[in-house]
């Protein structure tokens, strides 16, 4: 199936189908996701990114600049402290990775005070990530710092390590590669997003900064994750039997400690999961944009006359 949205300026197709296919496997889908589903998810992500850019463009025009920077995109996320906290952790990790990769370039204090090199120093500091500063600006009530990730994740990781010890090497290799895909095409702050930019901005009519592209890459990843998560919730709903409250977990994607291998209800999720179908993704989108909850629902008051825009990832 050819997607009509992804033909770029040179006439070739830029698409992220391979990356999205890997990502879906990393999130719990079958090792070979259904091809039509991958095309559909790619279309959805592209549409979502374009609407986000459209909104961000409105904000940047209000501000008077003609460049979309990360401030506008983080402004879109302002109501969701969990995602902001995740973006903060993301920046901390990425800075750490960049520092360990390039120990010399990250130290502006070693440059001398001559005028020519002072300009270079300013350029260096502009290249640093500013997401955390923007988040702190927007977060008036300090909600983001109150969001805590707790020790439960650590316990799960211990259990997951136990399971992967029993997987064969090739399977683990493939699984590990799948978990590592993302929308980024290179590493380092300046050159990482060539493919992403040619995907969403093929004719280069909008000016988007590199930092903004980094946040968009994060949001695209979140979108795919939300879609897959919602598909698994729907599958749980469809498996419910009346009178048996644990039947809905049958065959789902859970981290299965070795001790429950002989449990009646549960199958391990790695290979046995049926691939996500197009109909399931359509049902997910129907429920996200249903007219009865949220913005079009009964008790919502729209004080400002904006048209409601809804994003899956935010």
């Amino acid at each position: 199936m050819v997607s009509y949205f992804t033909i770029d300026a040179t006439g070739e197709n830029t698409n992220f189908q391979k990356e999205i296919s890997n990502m879906m496997h990393g999130f719990g889908d079958n090792p070979n996701p259904n091809a039509a589903t991958v095309v559909l998810v790619e279309d959805i992500v592209l549409q979502q990114l374009r609407s986000m850019i459209q909104e961000a463009l409105n904000y940047s025009m209000l501000k008077g600049t003609n460049v979309i920077s990360n401030h506008e995109i983080i402004y879109l996320m302002r109501k969701n402290p969990v995602k902001l906290k995740r973006l903060q952790n993301y920046q901390i990790k990425m800075d750490h990775i960049d520092n360990t990769r390039n120990p010399t370039a990250a130290n502006p204090s070693t440059t001398s005070i001559l005028t020519g090199i002072v300009l270079e120093e300013e350029k260096e500091s502009k290249k640093k990530r500013t997401h955390i500063d923007v988040i702190k600006d927007l977060d008036e009530m300090d909600e983001v710092s109150l969001v805590k990730f707790d020790a439960i994740d650590y316990l799960r990781k211990v259990r997951a390590a136990k399971i992967t010890e029993s997987m064969s090497f090739e399977k683990y290799e493939a699984y590990h590669k799948a978990r590592c895909s993302s929308f980024r095409s290179g590493y380092g702050l300046s050159k990482g997003f060539v493919k992403l930019e040619s995907w969403i901005n093929p004719t280069k009519e909008l000016k988007i900064t590199q930092l903004a592209l980094e946040v968009l890459c994060f949001l695209a990843y979140e979108t795919v994750a939300e879609i897959v998560d919602a598909v698994f919730l729907i599958r749980q709903d469809s498996k419910k039997k009346s009178g048996d409250p644990f039947s809905k977990f049958e065959g789902g994607y859970f981290c299965n400690p070795q001790s429950l291998n002989n449990a009646v209800y549960i199958k391990s999720g790695y290979e046995g999961v049926p691939a996500i179908t197009v109909a399931e993704v359509r049902e997910v989108l129907r429920r996200y944009f249903t007219p009865t909850t949220g913005i079009n629902g009964l008790f919502h008051r729209n004080m400002s006359n904006d048209l409601p825009v809804r994003f899956i990832a935010i």
């Binding site: 994740d153 990843y221 897959v228 981290c255 997910v284 009865t292």
Partner: protein
């Protein structure tokens, strides 16, 4: 391609008809709405055309029936194949058991005596509206009606993708309405304040303190900031223990258990739901007409 054949024959017919084309298409519309049978439509068409022009009419009808047959053919052949193989199997069984008996009585095979089934779609005399069949409109029906509407407006025809969108849209619309009615009746959970799931799950008893809403192991999503190259990776999923425990806790916190309401959906529920959730049906004329119908069904002069 068959759609070209239809277009070519239609254009020739239009040239030949000239002024009478609007009358011709009116008759054709009435045929689709089942106010005329195929024979009557044929007679009217022959009355409008001269002897050698009838040929164009025949060609057009032939092209139309071919196109619709092609669309509906696969489902018919599958059903027919199943019927044939079923009758073959049953016949084999009967022969094996009765070769030794003297009086051979075999019950007749029903499938031989049924009338041959006609293909659904534009060319047949079967029902045309989805409500009469109590089936959702399928691809063939929608394409047939689209093409007719397009020709009336002077367009070329209809593509298959447009019919696909309509088929999915009808399903979505009906699902939205049914979900709205069910959400009035049973409890559900919201994810991200927008995504409704777990309809019919146990709701916590509001008169007792509980901590069931504090932590749901499935609520945090699948993205995790970790130590990989991209700093983003899938989160380790919850263990089966955690999930089972949270399900058991939900049941423990729920109110005194009454029998779950398994009744069929009633007209009153639909009426009340559509009164409160007006924007489930976005188009006011559709909404108003159907609310009138519901109100009439609920009302009787003797009440």
């Amino acid at each position: 391609m068959s759609s070209d054949a239809i277009n070519i024959s239609r254009r020739k017919l239009n040239e030949v008809l000239g002024d009478k084309s609007s009358k011709y298409f009116n008759h054709m519309k009435q045929w689709f709405r089942m106010k005329l049978t195929k024979e009557e439509f044929d007679m009217e068409a022959r009355a409008l055309l001269s002897a050698d022009q009838v040929r164009f009419h025949n060609e057009f009808l032939l092209a139309l029936l071919n196109k619709v047959e092609g669309l509906a053919e696969t489902s018919i052949t599958i059903a027919h194949d199943k019927a044939i193989s079923h009758s073959r199997n049953s016949r084999r069984h009967k022969r094996n058991s009765r070769t030794s008996e003297k009086s051979n009585f075999e019950p007749a095979d029903l499938l031989e005596y049924l009338p041959p089934n006609s293909p659904p779609g534009a060319g047949s005399d079967g029902v045309k509206y989805a409500v009469q069949e109590i089936f959702l409109p399928d691809h063939a029906l929608v394409v047939g009606r689209f093409m007719l509407a397009a020709w009336e407006l002077g367009l070329e025809g209809a593509e298959d993708d447009a019919a696909d969108i309509i088929v999915v849209a009808v399903q979505n619309f009906l699902k939205n309405i049914i979900t709205a009615v069910l959400s009035q009746r049973k409890g559900y959970k919201l994810r991200n304040k927008r995504f409704m799931y777990d309809l019919g799950g146990d709701m916590p008893n509001m008169w007792l303190r509980n901590s069931s809403m504090l932590y749901d192991p499935q609520s945090e999503g699948r993205v995790h900031v970790d130590d990989s190259m991209d700093a983003l990776g899938p989160r380790c999923p919850p263990t089966i223990d955690e999930v089972e425990q949270s399900a058991a806790f939900e049941i423990a916190c729920s109110g005194p258990s009454t029998e779950p309401n398994d009744d069929k959906l009633t007209i009153e529920e639909f009426y009340n739901t559509l009164l409160t959730h007006k924007n489930v049906i976005a188009c006011h004329s559709v909404y108003a007409v159907n609310m009138e119908r519901l109100a009439v069904m609920l009302n009787h002069p003797s009440y």
